[in-house]
C-alpha cells in the first residue's frame, strides 16, 4: 500500500529531534510492548504481517504516536486476525484497567518459556531460503524498478519506483514480504542491493555526490538492455 509509512523523501516533517542521551524505553509500557512482541509473534503473527499492521494505522496516528504504540496497535489488530484474541476481549479488559489502573496482572510463571524466547533472540530467525532458481541479475546489470502499487504490504518504496539503477550486490533468496504478510506463503525470491544515482531519484537539483542503495526482491525489477532509453529525455 502507498501509505505515509513510506516516508522517504517527504518534506516538512520538521527537526529530527536528536537526543544525546535517552533511555532504551521512555516508559515501562514501552518495555512491556517490546518484550511481549516476541511471544506474540511466536503465537502465529509473522514479522511481515506485524509490519503491515503498523502501516494500516491512520496516517495521523502513525505520524503522531510514540513508536511502541505502533507495535501495540499491530499486535491488537494482528492477534484478533490470527484468532488468538477478540476485539471484545481487548475492549473489555482495557476498560477494566482504565477503571482500576492498579489491578494486578495474572501470574503465570514459566522461566523456561522466558528463557526460550531469549534463546530465540540470541540465535535469530533467518528469512533467507534456498531456492532452485538462479538469480536473474548480476552485479553491474542495469535495472529499472517496476511501477508497482500493490494494495497490500510491499517493501518497494515509492521514491524508487520507475527509477533506473545498477545491481550492486546479490544476496541470495529471502521470504517475499508481499505474500508472506497476507498468508500467501513465503514464496522466496532473490534479493539484490540496487544503487541509484541521486539525480535519477531526486531530479536535477539533487546533490550529485550522493548514492542511494536499496534492497529489492527480484520481482520488483526489470532488466534494462541499454539500447533503448527514452527516459534519457528526463536528463535534458
Amino acid at each position: 500500500m502507498d501509505g505515509v509509512h513510506d516516508i522517504g523523501g517527504t518534506d516538512g516533517l520538521g527537526p529530527v529531534g536528536y537526543r544525546p542521551e535517552e533511555p532504551l524505553f521512555d516508559n515501562p509500557w514501552e518495555r512491556t510492548v517490546f518484550a511481549m512482541s516476541f511471544p506474540a509473534m511466536a503465537s502465529g503473527l509473522n514479522l511481515d504481517a506485524f509490519r503491515h499492521g503498523i502501516e494500516k494505522m491512520h496516517p495521523v496516528d502513525y505520524l503522531s504516536s510514540p513508536y511502541y504504540e505502533h507495535w501495540l496497535f499491530t499486535m491488537e489488530k494482528g492477534l484478533v486476525e490470527t484468532g488468538l484474541l477478540t476485539e471484545e476481549e481487548l475492549r473489555a479488559r482495557t476498560q477494566q484497567f482504565l477503571d482500576d489502573p492498579s489491578a494486578p496482572l495474572p501470574q503465570r510463571s514459566d522461566p523456561a518459556a522466558a528463557e526460550a524466547i531469549v534463546g530465540f533472540l540470541r540465535s535469530g530467525a533467518p528469512a533467507r531460503r534456498e531456492i532452485d532458481a538462479k538469480p536473474a541479475f548480476a552485479p553491474g546489470d542495469r535495472v529499472l524498478v517496476r511501477n508497482l502499487h500493490p494494495k497490500g504490504h510491499t517493501r518497494l518504496a515509492g521514491y524508487l519506483r520507475g527509477k533506473r539503477g545498477v545491481i550492486d550486490a546479490v544476496h541470495g533468496a529471502f521470504v517475499f514480504p508481499d505474500t508472506h504478510a497476507h498468508g500467501l506463503g513465503e514464496q522466496p525470491q532473490h534479493v539484490y542491493t540496487v544503487r541509484f544515482d541521486s539525480v535519477e531519484v531526486w531530479g536535477p537539483g539533487a546533490d550529485p555526490r550522493t548514492v542511494n542503495h536499496f534492497d529489492m526482491w527480484e520481482s520488483y525489477l526489470v532488466a534494462l538492455d541499454g539500447d533503448t532509453d527514452d527516459r534519457a529525455a528526463l536528463d535534458r
Binding site: D26, W29, L90, Q96, P101, L105, N212
Partner: protein
Amino acid sequence: MSTDHVLPVRPDYNADPTPDPVVVARVKALESLLLEKGVLASETVDRVADLYEKEVGPRNGARAVARAWTDPDFKQRLLADPVAACAELGIGGMQGEDMVVVENTDEVHNVIVCTLCSCYPWPVLGLPPNWYKYPAYRSRIVKDPRALLRGEFELDVPDEKTIKVWDSSAEVRYWVLPQQPPGTEGLSEEELVELITRDSMIGTGLPRTPDSPAGAR
C-alpha cells in the same frame, strides 16, 4: 525556503513523557490476555528487556570495529562475512541474521536508514534510538543526507566526499565501519572501544578522539 518557520518535533519524545492512560491500559489488557492464554510467561518481559538493556548494545559493534582497526585479517573477514566475523566475538542474533558492513574511506561516507519502518542491526548496535525510528530522519536522510548531517548531527561531510545511503528495506542489516581517528594508532583495542560511538556506526557521527568530551556523539 519551505521550512522558514520552526516546526515542532513530532512525536515530541523530548517532552516530559507522561504516559497516555489509555495506552497504559491497552498494554495491560494485552499483557494480561497473553498471560491467561499461555502465550506469555510472567518472567518474559524482564528477561527480554534485560537482554537489550544490559547485554546487547552498541558496545558489541564497538568491539568488532576496534578489532577490525587493530587486526587487518579480522577486518577483511568482517567486510567479507560480517555474520561469521561477529560470531567470533560471540555477537549475533535477531535482526542480525544477514549483515553487511560498509566501510568509510577518504572518499566515501556511509549512513544507514530504514525508510519503511525501523530496521536496524540489533546484535551490534542494540535497539535503535527514537530519532532513527521517527519520520523526520527517515524522510530526509535519503534525499539530502549532507544537509541533514550538517544541520542536525553536527557532522560536516565535505562536498567532494561521496555519501552512500543504505536503506535497509529487506532482511539485510547494514552498519558502518568508521575510519580510525588519526592519532589513535598506538591505542589498545580496549582503549579504542571507548571511542567508537553508536552514531559512528550508523553514519550520523564519527568516532571520538581521546580528547573529545565524554558526551561527544
